[in-house]
């Protein structure tokens, strides 16, 4: 009965028009003060805030369900297992995977990429093979491949981007070949906001027989993702960037590929039987989930995805695009501001530099006005090098941000520019 009421509530809410002030009531942290100013949280590409529904799910788990999963016969263990597996099913439906067991819970996108690099990469790469990434990858989609390349003798190839921050597909055509065995590409750049043409890249990779990993860390919270339609072989994301807890992430992989891969870590839960002579590994997804997992993390992620589905990713994308366009327009009022990353297809973040003001000074001064942005290289040093800047300031928006908050950002920036004149 309780479930039915809940679903009914979701239904009713969904029919209402998007109301940002209603949405903001769900996020307790948005109502606090920072340095005696109302918090304006523009660091959503680093991590998102959590709605009370997610916080309550986690509290409820520890208050009513806490137990280890998959092996207990007692009530709590079964209840916790069922919630955990339900979360897997929520993720599966959310990205339209074929099977629940194609969803592997990891610590985050970073661990998911490492899992593929070590398990798939080390097994399948050999000297003369090539791994293809892009110039705009996060360090977490560069370093694991460098490590696996140095172990296997494979070569890392990099597709460059142009000064707007768009991948140069002609260069991809020059680099991609039957030697290419793995293509690992970011869906949306965390420092430029570029939405990459992954459908095309996936098709070209498959043409030459390579498998494709899509880093969805910055797309899963902004765009509807359908892994079957995309036909990517792997898709990874972190829970905390989609309004869920930290320490939980997802590796999606096509079942037949995951089945062919050796385990990444050994331990409990990933085995069927163990003797000192021979260990038989468990089936998917457990083969890749050694040890007690982040149970409340997975359940919290499930709750976060439900929350996002309830608003609708199409509605979210539409509103966030309006925020992006508004911010880009308003920032043009300040001649000293230069936006880094001007791709035609862009997600809701603005990276910028300000003439004669270092990003760290901007970060400190905005913070005093209650505005949280990110300053630094955003774990994308090659991107900074491309534009010849040591760092940028980045304001990244979520559906709970408002146009008034952007006005405040512009006002504060104008003050800062004047101060440094």
């Amino acid at each position: 009965m309780e479930t039915q009421t809940k679903e009914l509530k979701f239904e009713v809410k969904k029919k209402k028009a998007f109301d940002v002030h209603e949405i903001r009531k769900d996020f307790p942290i948005l109502h606090r003060l920072v340095h005696n100013k109302p918090l304006i949280y523009f660091d959503n590409a680093a991590t998102t805030q959590k709605p009370k529904q997610v916080i309550e799910t986690i509290t409820n788990y520890y208050s009513n369900l806490n137990s280890n999963i998959h092996r207990g016969v007692h009530y709590l263990s079964q209840a916790a297992t069922s919630e955990f597996e339900c979360a897997r099913n929520i993720v599966k439906s959310f990205i339209n995977a074929r099977y629940d067991e194609e969803i592997i819970f990891t610590r985050g996108a970073t661990e998911a990429i490492n899992l593929v690099a070590y398990s798939y990469g080390e097994t399948n790469l050999k000297e003369g093979d090539e791994v293809l990434i892009t110039e705009m990858e996060h360090h977490s989609n560069i370093v694991p491949w460098q490590i696996v390349c140095s172990k296997t003798g494979a070569k890392l190839k990099v597709v460059p981007f142009d000064d707007n921050g768009e991948l140069i597909l002609d260069e991809l055509e020059k680099i991609i070949s039957p030697k290419t065995k793995i293509v690992s590409v970011v869906h949306i750049s965390n420092s430029l906001g570029t939405i990459n043409p992954i459908e095309y890249i996936i098709r070209r990779a498959h043409d030459v027989g390579a498998v494709v990993l899509i880093d969805g860390s910055q797309s899963i919270q902004h765009l509807p993702v359908d892994v079957q339609k995309l036909d990517c072989d792997f898709f990874v994301f972190s829970g905390h960037k989609i309004y869920g807890p930290t320490g939980i992430g997802v590796l999606y992989g096509k079942k037949e590929i995951l089945e062919s891969m050796p385990p990444y870590q050994g331990g409990g839960d990933m085995i069927l039987s163990v003797t000192f002579e021979k260990t038989i590994y468990n089936v998917l997804p457990h083969k890749f989930e050694a040890g007690t997992p982040h149970i409340e993390g997975a359940i919290g992620l499930g709750s976060a995805i439900r929350y996002v589905q309830n608003i609708g990713l199409d509605v979210i994308f539409d509103y966030e695009t309006k925020l992006l366009n508004y911010a880009s327009e308003r920032l043009k009022e300040i001649p000293e501001v230069k936006i880094i990353g001007n791709a035609k297809n862009k997600a809701s973040l603005v990276s910028f530099v300000v003439e004669n003001v270092h990003p760290h000074d901007i970060g400190t001064l905005l913070d005093r006005d209650g505005i949280a942005i990110r300053t630094g290289h955003h774990c994308t040093e090659p991107v900074m090098r491309h534009f010849g800047v040591p760092a940028t300031s980045r304001a990244s928006f979520a559906f709970y941000n408002t146009f008034e908050e952007i006005d405040q950002l512009v006002l504060s920036l104008k003050k800062i520019v004047a101060k440094f004149k």
């Binding site: 004669n356 003001v357 270092h358 990003p359 760290h360 000074d361 400190t364 001064l365 005093r368 300053t375 630094g376 290289h377 900074m384 040591p390 760092a391 101060k419 440094f420």
Partner: protein
Amino acid sequence: MDEVDLLYQEMILDHNKNPRNFGELEDATHKAVGHNPLCGDHIEIFLKVKDGKVEDVKFKGVGCAISKASASIMTTVLKGKTLDEVKNLFEKFHNVITSKPDEPVNTEELGKLAVFAGVREFPVRVKCATLAWHTLIEAIEKKDSVLTVE
């Protein structure tokens, strides 16, 4: 004064905009490169020591207002000091900017450097204010070598 105005005082903004002793010193006896990988700050210190005293000092590099002003102001207070006096001054400077905001501090013997006392309200910015100094100390201790401080 608001804490942030204490951090970005007029003198700091001025030295950021018009850094003093900016450039290379061809006859440097000591030099070192300082690098803060977190924020991408990069500084080079050139030091000329004669008879145990600082005869000249210059710097170049990129960084935030705090790190640039710190380097610039540093170069204006070193000339004529013995190397021990330089180290001593850095220690006092370091003590002040890493002290807790409510702790009483003696900024009198810091002279011009007292302008950085506001940094202690911003623990994440302490490294910005000390980068030039750490690099200077490296230059003194690892004479004639260029190295990276991380």
